[in-house]
Structure formats: C-alpha cells, structure tokens
Symmetry: C2
Subunit: 387 residues, 2 copies
C-alpha cells in the first residue's frame, strides 16, 4: 500500500545522447544513456525543476515505488513527495543515475558500440565536472534552462556545488549537504583501501571481469564493509551494536573467526548484499571522482577564488557526528561563499548518526530543508490551476 | 655505529616450556616456546624487572640492534636504554614475542608435534589472559617472583592491565598507555574488515596456506593499509600527506587507479612491506584477542567491580588525537582504578600523531614516563656496586 504523501508508482525513463561528450580526462564518450525519474509536474515556465544528485552508491530511484507491494521505496523517499520537505506539489524533481553508474546509465558494464564488448577497463574515469556536464545535457533534454535548485548529500553535495560553478546561470539554489570542498588525506586513504581490495581481487581481471563471467565480489564486499564504518559515527555504532554477542548463551565465547559480535554480523550482511548488487567498476570510478573533486586546485587552494563566478544562493547543512565529512569541511564552503558575498544559510544539525544522517528523517534536519525549499520562489500559477 | 645511550648489540633467547598450557578457550597447548630479549641487569633481589608487552604487530625486539650496521633498532628503542626514560642502568627490561606470534614464539606457523605439520587453522585463538599466563611462566623461568612494572601501549596496555588483575601480587606498577578497557563497536568493525580481507583471500586456504606454499598476501596487505589509517589522526595524515600528488607535473592528473596521491603511495608501501613479513594467522589472532579483551564482561560491565582485587599502582597515558583508543577510554580505566582506591597517575598528552603517538619520542610524553619510572623503588645497591 502506498502512503498518502508518497509520489506513488513511478517508472524510470532513458534519455539517449548521440553527441560525443568530451570528459575532463580528455577521453570522449561517443554516445551515452542517462536513466532518470521525475516526480511532480514541470510548470509552464519551467522554473520549478529540482535536480537531485546521488552519492557513491545511489541512483535515479529517489522516491516512490515500482509496484504496489514494493517494499523498497526510492532512497530519499522520506524527503521527496507531496507535502514532504521537498514538496512535489510545488517542485518538479529529477533523479538520475550518474554517468558511469550501474543502474541503467552508460557505464563500464555497458556495451561499447565500437567493440560490441563491455567497456570494462576502457570505460573512462569520470569527474564531478563531467557528471554536471552530462546533467546539464539532461536538463536540455527536458527543456529546462534553469534549475530552481540542485540538491545533494555527500558526493551529491559536491555535484550541487559544482553546478553553481560550471553553470552559474542555470541554477538558482545549491543545497550542499554533508559534503566537503575536497577529500582529506584520510578520506582518500579509505577510498584507496576500498579500491585496492577490489583491484587485487583475482576476479577483477583488470576491470574486464564481465568477459570472464565473474565479479570481484570479495573485494567489493570488503570495500562496502569499510564504507559502512565511515558512514556511521562511533557513538551510533556503540548505541546500535555495542559489544553485543550475536549468539549469546551466557557470556560463552566461540574463540574462532565466525561472527561473534552483532557488529560483525551487520557488516557482513551489508557487504554481502552490496557485492551481489553493485558493479565494481562503478565503485572504483565513484571513489576516484570523490578523490579528484577539488575546485580550488587551480586556485592555489583558495576556495574563495575558485567560487568567484558563482551566482546561486545556498543552503549548506552538516551533521555534528559526521566524521567522514565533518562540519568543519562544510564551514570551509560557507566561508568561501560568504567571501564572495553570496547568500548562504548554514545549519549544523546535532545528530548521532554520522555521515548517514543526511539520509535520515531527522525532524530538525527536515524542518530546515522544508523551510529553505518553501521560500524558493517558483511560478506555479498554471500548475496550481491544473491541480 | 651505536648511539651512546643504546642498549647496544642484543640477541634473542628462547625459553621452552614443556608443561601443557590450558587456554581460556579450553584448548591446550602441549608445549611452547617464547622468544625474548633482555636489557640491563637483574639485581640481586630480582626487584628491578620490567616486562614490556607488545601490540598487534610488535615482537620481542624492543631495543638495541642485532649487528653494528643494523639500521632497524628495536621498536621501542627510543624509550629503553641507559639514561632513557625506561633506564636500563636501573631496570632489567624484558621483551617477548607473544604466544601465537610470528617472530619465533610458538604460533600457527610452528610445527604441531602431534602431526609434524604446521598448526595452521588448528592453532588456538588466544586471549590477553592467556598471554599474561604465558608471560608469568616466562617470569618464573627467569626466576622473577614480582615485576617492578609491566608496560604496554595499545594491546600491550591491555596486557599490562590484565597482569594486575591476574597476578595482583606479582606486579607493582602497571603502565597502561594508549589503551582501553575493551574495544568499541567501531574498533571491532575495523578488525572484522581486516580479518575478512584475509579470510576471503583465495590463498588463505582456511588458515592452512603453509601447506600450499602461498600466503594470503592480498588480504594481509589490505588489513595493514586499513590499520594504518586508524593509527594516524586525520590531522596528522593531512599534515604529512594532504592532497599532495605523487608525480606532480603542474596539476596534471592521471585519471586512472594507479597511485595519484602521496597518501596512496604511503599506504601501498606499508601494506606491501607488512604482507611480505607478517603471518596472517597471527594477525587474525591478535585482532581477536583485542576484540575479546573485556575484564568487565562477567561483572555486568562494571569495570570497577572487575578490578576489585588489583593491588598495583598505575600510570595511565592517553593522547588527545588518538581516535582508535581515545582519552575517554583511558579515563574509564582511571575511574575504575580510583573507585578501588588505587594509586593512579593519569596524563592526557597533547599530541598530533593519533594512536601511533605512543611509539614516538614526544618530549612531554617521555618526560612523564621518565618521571614515573624514576620514582619506582628498586634495590639496586648490588647492581650499582657492579657498575
């Protein structure tokens, strides 16, 4: 059964692009598909479109369900829907699977038309800038000249920020949540361990595992287990799992390497699930795009200079227990935006869940988003007439 | 050339134990060897012995060198030597390789006398209590009834604390550095990811890789890379590596998965080095001993009750940037000791290096150790006569 404030049943669409896309690396994609979903109605002057950018393992299925008994709504369903903080009565919301993704958009597992084989290792490394360029083409495809807002958490927040840089006239508001102006050495280190787990898996076959009928499941599993540690706070893990034994009979321990603690059980479950669903080449590219994102790189590290041409208004949100992208990193963004005399709202939300907090329906957090989004001015006269 | 305040050239010794040792798990080791080194002279009444317990990847080679041109002194050489904070003019210092280790003491790679094959997967899982029991047998072997002190950092600190619990009359001072009364869920999670990287390596062969002439190098490498992230602080990594590119030509990026950042290069180097030296079965057992350490387990989590029979005096040291074993965890130990009206000195050292700080010659930290150790009363009249 669908909730009252769900966007209801949805279906993905595919946009095909025949014009070659030159990437930041210099590589050229001769053609590509982007899979996307939309929720709500585009208004007459096309001023109410909001693009949602996904993070490392996300996709285009942001809200709604695929069938009546679907138990897994879109990944940001708690945010997007009629009367929800990102209100689909007001906004036309677009979710897409990023280029290089593994949920339908062109990626390493897609067929390279030149060889009729999967791209595999030859699929290029993408950057946040490349994604934003491809998303701008999707906006063109939908006939949208200017987005009311681009919204994203984590890697998605980097895309929202990049939009305001790459297309200052095409985005009115950037909502940059649980994000950072670049990765720290520690962030890069975690990514590198995850990548090395995948790359050294004997079934990775240098990225061309499709041809061998295998997937580097072991490596992907380790990568995901590690990721989960960084998504949660130490305290949240302590509260949820603590030192609780999995098969507690008194305090009898097993003295082996099977699951002994609930914590281990959770991680193995998450790792196994992900390894059966996600493409390793996509994982590698998503983490590399994170590593590379650094708008200040060519401005001697001066983020304020890097953002000099930005015109959008901003909401920046961070979470106190997020040690992956700490509030201090969000404040760097805020400072650089303010240095450019831009209009910025900043909220540091007290939340226990660490980086994952950006996905959770924390009332304070959602109230902040609702309030900000409510104030965005769009011309919905015609839309309201229809409803 | 040897420094003036080095213990000089040293050589390991081996103590063989023929009496079966019953472990906490119920398993029995029919016989075992412990490799150890000593520095300084045992005094006439044998009151000046200090045992150093090693952490996850440590061993018996605490101080000194094996030959004149040896470039790698013992792992705590900055602490132990004549006129150093742990002064070998005063103390007789013992370092050993823990049971289950891979530096000469009996472990999984040793030959099981019953089968004449390496123990491999059949080598038992050990606990901190087991190590302390085996260390007490080594003290017996050396004719030492009571240790002036047991000193350890990290997992070594857990052993120091356990000594005061298991043998309250055999240890006068416990020096518990950068340690914790048990692991948090996050600590266990990191250990589990490391173990799973090893166990799922196709060359692990369920722990019996010796028979196959291979080692699970890939898994061990990942485990070590991950470990290194947790040994350093985010800030220390930032200061040391930041986002510095490895092969910087302008800001030209490679857009592939080879080493791009200095951070990656460091981690790969550390991982490769370790994977060529360390035994995977030992790594598994060391991490499991960490997981299991929890003196309060059978006291409803009440550490104060668990420590009721302790008699020793303590120095507890933590480091502000240590997020693996944070100062808060050391304060838990201090509180429980104070609840039992024991004499405790506690120092929270401002240090940037994270968990690794306990191995570094920070002047403030070393001054604290020197001061505490100087005040320990031993009867060295005869020893001084000899010198």
């Amino acid at each position: 059964m669908l909730e009252n404030n769900s966007v209801g049943l949805v279906a993905p669409q595919t946009a095909h692009f025949d014009t070659p896309l030159t990437l930041k690396s210099g590589a050229v994609l001769p053609q590509f598909d982007l899979v996307f979903e939309t929720y709500g109605q585009l208004n007459a002057d096309k001023s109410n479109a909001v693009l949602i950018c996904h993070a490392l393992s996300g996709n285009h299925h942001v809200a709604g369900k695929y069938h009546e008994s679907d138990k897994n709504p879109g990944w940001w369903d708690n945010l997007v829907g009629p009367d929800k903080p990102l209100d689909t009565n007001k906004f036309f919301v677009i979710g897409l699977n990023n280029l290089g993704g593994c949920h339908g958009s062109t990626g390493a597992s897609s067929i390279n038309p030149a060889t009729q084989q999967p791209w595999g290792s030859t699929f290029p490394v993408l950057t946040v800038e490349d994604w934003v360029n491809s998303q701008a083409l999707l906006a063109d495809y939908l006939g949208i000249e200017q987005l009311a807002a681009v919204v994203g958490g984590s890697l998605g927040g980097m895309q929202a920020l990049q939009w305001t840089l790459s297309y200052p006239d095409r985005v009115k508001h950037g909502l940059v949540i649980a994000s950072a102006p670049n990765l720290t050495a520690q962030n890069i280190a975690f990514n590198e361990v995850a990548r090395q787990a995948i790359i050294t898996d004997p079934e990775f076959h240098n990225g061309d595992y499709y041809a061998h009928g295998v997937v580097p499941r072991r490596g992907l599993r380790i990568a995901r287990m590690l990721g989960h540690i960084t998504y949660l706070s130490d305290d949240a893990m302590g509260a949820k799992f603590g030192r609780t034994l999995k098969n507690k009979v008194g305090n009898q321990l097993q003295y082996n390497f099977d699951v002994e603690f609930e914590m281990e059980s959770y991680l193995r479950y998450q790792g196994d699930k992900f390894a059966g669903e996600f493409d390793a080449n996509t994982y590698l590219r998503m983490t590399r795009a994170l590593d590379y994102f650094d708008p200040a790189l060519n401005y001697d590290g001066d983020l304020s200079k890097a953002l000099a041409n930005v015109k959008a208004q901003f909401l920046v949100v961070s979470f106190t227990s997020d040690w992956r992208f700490s509030p201090a990193r969000s404040r760097e963004i805020v400072k650089a935006l303010l240095d450019n005399e831009l209009t910025v709202s900043y909220a540091e939300v007290t939340a226990a869940h660490g980086h994952d907090a950006f996905l959770m329906p924390d009332p304070h957090y959602h109230a902040i988003l609702r309030s900000y989004l409510n104030k965005i001015d769009v011309n919905n006269t015609k839309l309201r007439g229809v409803v």
